[in-house]
Amino acid sequence: MWVVFKKEIRSFLGSFIAYIVMGVFLVITGIFMWLIQENNVLDLGIASLQVMFNIAPYILIFLVSAITMRSLSEERRLGTIEILTTRPVSDTSILLGKYFAAVGLIIFTLLPTLFYYYSIKQLADPLQGVDSGATWGSYMGLVLLAASYASIGLFASSLTDNQIVSLIISMVLCFFWYGVLSLLGDIKALELIGKSLEWFSLDFHYQSISRGVLDTRDIIYFLGFIATFLGGTKLVFESRKW
């Protein structure tokens, strides 16, 4: 598994995908946090990273999909999948290696935003400070959310040998699970059905963890979500054997 992991990380760094993803994420969140009129931290006068945590899920839909779009589709297009799968390595370790490489890159992308946290802590009213519980909860939620996106992205990339198709499928699926499902909960006419559908959305559990309360139900939801999509990926990946 680590052999694949290492190769993937090197390929991210070598193909500049890593730098582009990190750069884009920091620039966009930076603009929203500090520059956009009236909505930025300085104008709002609230010492929290909430602005970033609200916008990040949408940016990550695009960025995570961009990271994972080639991981399996490219192997299929090149034909290298045939060499990869005839090595004495199980399909599961190949997939997990690729998956963890993508998750690792995302965590690495989130790290520099700790600088925002530091800045806000310095700017905050010394008597009140920053709600650190909510902040760490939100970071945790963001990592779990991005890890869920990555499992969707890997699944999408197993479906096709075309990177662009893979990117689009992944973005649509991510947006569906994050945004569409939670919007259904807001429709009054749907009543209970809407509410129960909302429970299945990534957003519902992301918001729940963001409050700073670590509920095992949320963690289990995210882990189950990831396991489901990775299982689906394995199923598609092994369809050559049918």
Binding site: V3, S11, G79, E82, I83, V89, R240
Partner: protein, 241 residues
């Protein structure tokens, strides 16, 4: 026996790509897998390397059954797929290190060095694979196949698309390897078989139509060239298309 194939069949949809194939290859033999396009050569090789399972029948490679112990087979087999797929943005050494890691080699550095020496890749070792000529790319493909010093080498059209000089070099490399390994290689060039192989298995429409030593095959019609024999054998079965 390095490779034993018993009544192997593979069906794609309603079409039998490989139909009831049986043959044996003893250790240390270089065998040419011959046949027109679509005869089932690649499919058989894909099954023998564990990429896809057979529909019926079984194959034993290096003493391990592919249906039950594919992992043990994959440890002992080196495979060069058709069209030689490669990561073009990787460096030669980097790719071979990756291959060695995937093959579970204990001393990666020695394995890479040995594979580079065997395939005479030394002058190009620090280049990106995408920058290499076709001949050198083919050597990289061969190098990754033998990185773990496998007992059996399965090479799917190892010389296709090479220029005449490169073909001769490639043949010499494979012939050298064949001194202490079992090699199964596919081709549709008769001279290739004459230059490298001691035995020929001729396939057509997923079936074996000849399995003979080179001399044996020549004796079936002494006045014809190997090319003519090949055409006679494969054409006599064309009626079933």
């Amino acid at each position: 026996m390095s490779i034993q194939v018993n009544h192997l069949s593979k069906r794609y949809g309603s079409q039998w790509a490989v139909n009831d194939l049986s043959f044996e290859i003893p250790t240390g033999e270089i065998v040419g897998f011959l046949g027109p396009n679509g005869a089932g050569k690649s499919t058989t090789m894909k099954i023998l390397t564990g990429y896809i399972p057979a529909t019926n029948g079984d194959a034993v490679v290096c003493g391990f059954n592919l249906n039950t112990d594919s992992l043990s087979v994959r440890k002992r087999v080196g495979y060069l797929p058709e069209h030689n797929p490669l990561y073009l943005d990787m460096y030669v050494t980097e790719y071979l290190q990756f291959s060695a890691g995937m093959a579970g080699v204990s001393s990666i550095k020695t394995a890479v060095k040995k594979a580079i020496d065997l395939t005479q890749l030394s002058p190009e070792r620090n280049k990106k694979i995408g920058q290499l000529s076709k001949g050198y790319r083919q050597r990289v493909g061969l190098a990754q196949a033998l990185i773990h010093d496998p007992e059996v080498l399965i090479l799917d059209e190892p010389t296709s698309g090479l220029d005449p000089n490169q073909v001769v070099e490639m043949r010499n490399v494979i012939k050298n390897l064949g001194k202490n390994k079992t090699v199964l290689l596919s081709t549709h060039i008769m001279q290739e078989v004459e230059a490298m192989c001691s035995r020929v298995i001729l396939l057509n429409h997923g079936k074996i139509i000849a399995d003979n030593t080179l001399e044996g095959l020549k004796q079936t019609s002494p006045n014809d060239s190997l090319e003519t024999i090949f055409r006679n054998l494969t054409n006599s079965h064309v009626g079933s298309i």
